[in-house]
């Protein structure tokens, strides 16, 4: 039979976003794939050159709309290094609090979408229900459910509202037994195993060669998590394990993400306890107004005046829910970054699609792409 190219996307239920997977088929067999991205390109790196340092944070939320906090954190670390600013410790804990809730929310979003791809309907509703509890928490301290704009270069915007930690504990208590229920729904189902076992296999060596990171590389048995390997923020003080699997297939990625959510709950309990007992400032002092410092008495030197920051470059890398994200900020003096470069983990994970898709069947595409957890916003930027 003659081979043919088929466009799966940009409006295909499998894509979860606006991108196109071109597939070369021989009957049902996948011979080659060529992902086409760029439908959601908004020029975030270009726009950043024209924005104040804090205004870029607004763009970061749009970079990955299911993991906005991870990207805000990534950028603020790089910008602080470029500008030689150190945030206070409480701000760091608030950032980790946001990050880890975001990891759970992002994985729940993935869970909801992924299980629907393989034909299980009810887990979708459970996943979305529990994610909403986290969004409610976000709303209580940032005012937004999706685009938070909460981090600042030098700290965070505001402290937690009264009673937040108790509410957060309630959510964590609710979530803990839910993960076992999710597992029962999926791992207890023969259909799940028939559709996902030994599918989309990408061994650890190939992951390294093709730049794949995140749950995909951990599902191949390679223990690689920037929170452990290069601890940023306050991860060094927190006790948690790196989620691992060894099957390198779709089921392995499922197991890794499930375990990551459990570990995030473990981290969050420590963070919430810390926040209860350590009040303090949440933004660095002596920031100029153009970096969003709180209103200061007029005339106090350094606040209303443009403080000149020495030139510098900042490189940061964080473990985003999808993998390793990196930012490179070049500060040539002044209020705008000269150049901002972002490395999106999903961008690299999709670019290796040929490695984990060729040789499988058409019906295997939704579970495989679902297990990659594509977020087009950060691919296209």
């Amino acid at each position: 039979m003659s081979e043919m190219w088929i466009n799966m996307g940009p409006q295909h239920p499998m894509t979860h976003g606006l991108w196109n997977l071109r597939v070369r088929l021989d009957g049902e067999l996948i011979k080659d794939v060529d992902p086409e991205v760029g439908y959601l390109h908004r020029g975030i790196e270009k726009i950043s050159e024209d924005r104040h340092y804090n205004e870029v944070i607004t763009l970061m939320d749009r970079c990955c709309y299911v993991a906005g906090f991870a990207w805000e954190h990534l950028y603020t670390i790089a910008a602080e290094r470029a500008l030689h600013i150190t945030p206070p410790e409480r701000a760091e804990y608030l950032r980790v609090l946001s990050d880890e809730f975001q990891r759970i929310a992002s994985h729940l979003m993935w869970y909801a979408a992924f299980v629907q791809d393989i034909g299980l309907m009810s887990p979708f509703l459970y996943g979305m229900r529990d994610r909403d509890l986290i969004l409610d928490l976000y709303q209580s301290y940032t005012g937004a459910r999706m685009t938070y704009e909460y981090f600042r270069v030098g700290g965070v915007r505001s402290d937690l509202p009264p009673g937040f930690t108790d509410q957060a504990r309630k959510v964590l208590d609710w979530l803990t037994p839910r993960f076992n229920e999710y597992d029962q729904l999926c791992l207890g189902s023969d259909i799940f195993h028939k559709r996902c076992d030994n599918l989309g296999v990408l061994k650890a060596n190939d992951c390294v060669t093709h730049g794949v990171t995140g749950p995909m590389i951990r599902s191949a048995g390679l223990k690689r998590d920037l929170r452990k390997d290069r601890p940023y923020s306050v991860y060094r003080q927190l006790d948690f394990d790196v989620a691992l699997a060894d099957s390198a297939d779709v089921t392995g990625r499922y197991l890794v993400r499930m375990e990551e959510m459990r570990q995030s709950v473990r981290i969050l309990r420590q963070v919430v306890d810390w926040l209860d007992h350590h009040p303090g400032p949440v933004i660095a002092e002596e920031l100029p107004r153009w970096l969003g410092a709180p209103y200061a008495p007029v005339g106090k030197e350094g606040y209303l005046l443009k403080r000149h920051y020495p030139k510098g470059v900042g490189f940061s890398a964080v473990e985003e829910p999808h993998g390793e994200a990196q930012a490179y900020v070049v500060n040539e003096g002044g209020e705008h970054p000269y150049r901002v470069k972002f490395r999106s983990p999903v961008f690299a994970n999709i670019s290796a699609a040929r490695q984990y898709m060729v040789g499988y069947r058409v019906a295997d595409i939704p579970p495989i792409m679902g297990s990659v957890d594509v977020c087009v916003g950060e691919v296209d930027r």
């Binding site: 760029g38 270009k46 290094r81 390294v208 730049g211 490189f315 490395r343 670019s351």
Partner: protein
């Protein structure tokens, strides 16, 4: 691994292809090299254990362009930052895809946005922009519209 150690590991094999090794926060160091010896530098860095290329990017400094690479070593648990300067009139450098296959898309993106050509790249075509797009948007000469340039037509009724 610190910058000095990195310099000792690289200098004998690379000679004058290596320009400088500087400390760089968050990484083992920033390796600056001459663009004509790029492939040797990539191979040597890869031999040192930096087998995972994370990203490639470019900066337009108007009088010249800079291309940078970030690689990760699983054994050292560290990044290394490589960068080199290219002339602005014909910025081109050897593709890293033969050493790190993951450079593929990152180089396509850098070519598309900063206008740096990667020689012997297997598939250097548009990635995020439509085919035939004639501009390199991340060049400083590519201006975003200023608000006053946009004409707002008010219709009076």
């Amino acid at each position: 691994m610190e910058a000095e150690e990195l310099s000792r590991a690289l200098a004998p094999a690379l000679g004058d292809r290596l320009t400088a090794v500087e400390p760089f926060p968050g990484t083992a160091g920033r390796v600056r090299f001459r663009p004509d010896g790029a492939l040797d530098v990539f191979r040597r860095i890869h031999e040192l254990g930096f087998t995972h290329l994370s990203t490639v990017g470019g900066i337009d400094w108007v009088d010249h362009r800079e291309v940078f690479y970030v690689a990760w070593s699983d054994a050292l648990k560290q990044y290394v930052f490589l960068s080199t300067d290219l002339p602005a009139d014909s910025p081109h450098i050897e593709s890293a895809t033969s050493v790190w296959p993951s450079a593929d898309w990152h180089e396509r993106e850098t070519w598309e946005f900063v206008g740096i050509t990667f020689d012997h790249h297997p598939d250097l075509r548009h990635l995020l922009m439509p085919d035939g797009y004639a501009f390199h948007p991340l060049l400083r000469s590519f201006k975003l519209h200023e608000p006053e340039e946009l004409e707002v037509k008010v219709r009076h009724v």
